[in-house]
Symmetry: D2
Subunit: 142 residues, 4 copies
Amino acid sequence: MRMTKDELQAFLAREFPQMAPMSMRIEHFEGDSLRLSIGVNDSHLRPGGTVSGPTLMTLADCAAYLLLLGQIGPVALAVTTNLNINFLRKPEPTGLVGEARMLKRGKTLAVMDVLIHSEGQDAGPVAHATVTYAIPPARKTT
Amino acid sequence: MRMTKDELQAFLAREFPQMAPMSMRIEHFEGDSLRLSIGVNDSHLRPGGTVSGPTLMTLADCAAYLLLLGQIGPVALAVTTNLNINFLRKPEPTGLVGEARMLKRGKTLAVMDVLIHSEGQDAGPVAHATVTYAIPPARKTT
Amino acid sequence: MRMTKDELQAFLAREFPQMAPMSMRIEHFEGDSLRLSIGVNDSHLRPGGTVSGPTLMTLADCAAYLLLLGQIGPVALAVTTNLNINFLRKPEPTGLVGEARMLKRGKTLAVMDVLIHSEGQDAGPVAHATVTYAIPPARKTT
Amino acid sequence: MRMTKDELQAFLAREFPQMAPMSMRIEHFEGDSLRLSIGVNDSHLRPGGTVSGPTLMTLADCAAYLLLLGQIGPVALAVTTNLNINFLRKPEPTGLVGEARMLKRGKTLAVMDVLIHSEGQDAGPVAHATVTYAIPPARKTT
């Protein structure tokens, strides 16, 4: 682990101000897993009072990104190369929590999966994603 | 085809006002393919002057959705069940065009793929997605 | 649970005799998870002494299938609609174990993921797959 | 293009003798696309007279592999990192043809898609796959 939970949270606020409306909060980060929550506001809702697919995809992508950066440090220009998501249940119009898990971190690729739940619901996960990041070759961390 | 290009464009404006900032325009719709363009503004850009992954995923999801609705009509509560996207090249900070193609439209599932290019670029596609929609059983179109 | 571990094993031998060379064994089945092992013989090996990709995909597909049938009963003509697999590490030329987990079982679709390890190895998973099965509408179990 | 169609066919026979039962034939290879056909024999059939999922996955994987090798030469130890397949229609118990297309060939990753049809059928594709190969860094071709 190259970064703490608080360092990741500060990095997120500084480098991705456009994410501020999602109220992302890193709830937990340790070893090979990271938990990221988002608040849901009107702009993420779809007709019928559910959360939009792009909101779920953004949560999955960010949870994976933060888990990887937490492990390799903040300067890496890691980019998503593949994201596969299954939408499982209609999310409630509440906050969401994504649990990212590192499946493999190699020199050039990292593969993670993310299980997403509606906050305070027992109905089972609303989505499951697998996310692959490419790690740039010369990642001289400062 | 149950809807024309113009009917789809009107449906999009009426039902998804939250998409307005993306300036989505249906460029073409005929038979098994639909072309959707988006303008890109500052909120979609990432550091380094590229378009964010969630913007590309939203474009893929919407192009597939509109192609399906164009074929089955506007009332269906179709929902995305799976989206798989490969990010191929760094997009230029310009508009994007997605070409959706129907691979299979069954009674309960429709599978499409979407090839995304940066507008006015010859460098090859920036992303390729496959998108599955579930079609609700009782889709009595009006 | 509509079938026991032993009933699933007998079903596999009876209905899929062509799988016999893989020496599939259901190691565990309870609730939402099932563990399936395969022996690996020469026909599954690739140059370099590793297990072929199709062997891993077959293991993932079968583990998911058996988990689903265990829950809904043996007569269902369930068919795979999507399989997404990430190959994580080079498998050792030994047996393999796949852990299937039910993520969502709906009326028409079931989504599972499967984590595959080389037997007796601590190096981390060799592959991770998500598998979607379509459940036919009239699945009158006997 | 580093290899011709005939060189690829000879490479396949020499390096992958275990594929011989599938009767793979490279029908066409030019630029960014390659067409691979397989004969289907009893061992690929499933109850109900259709072709097994693993057979379709093997065809997709091999068509992508041969397209990549045709472009970068025969010595590369390229390995599949991701395969995503949608099963679209029940294949007829006949031969199959896969059309692989290069979407992006970078220094470390190549992404292709493969559209699979039953031979001599007009009913539309039976499967669509996207396949990612990792290209090893020191691929000194002889």
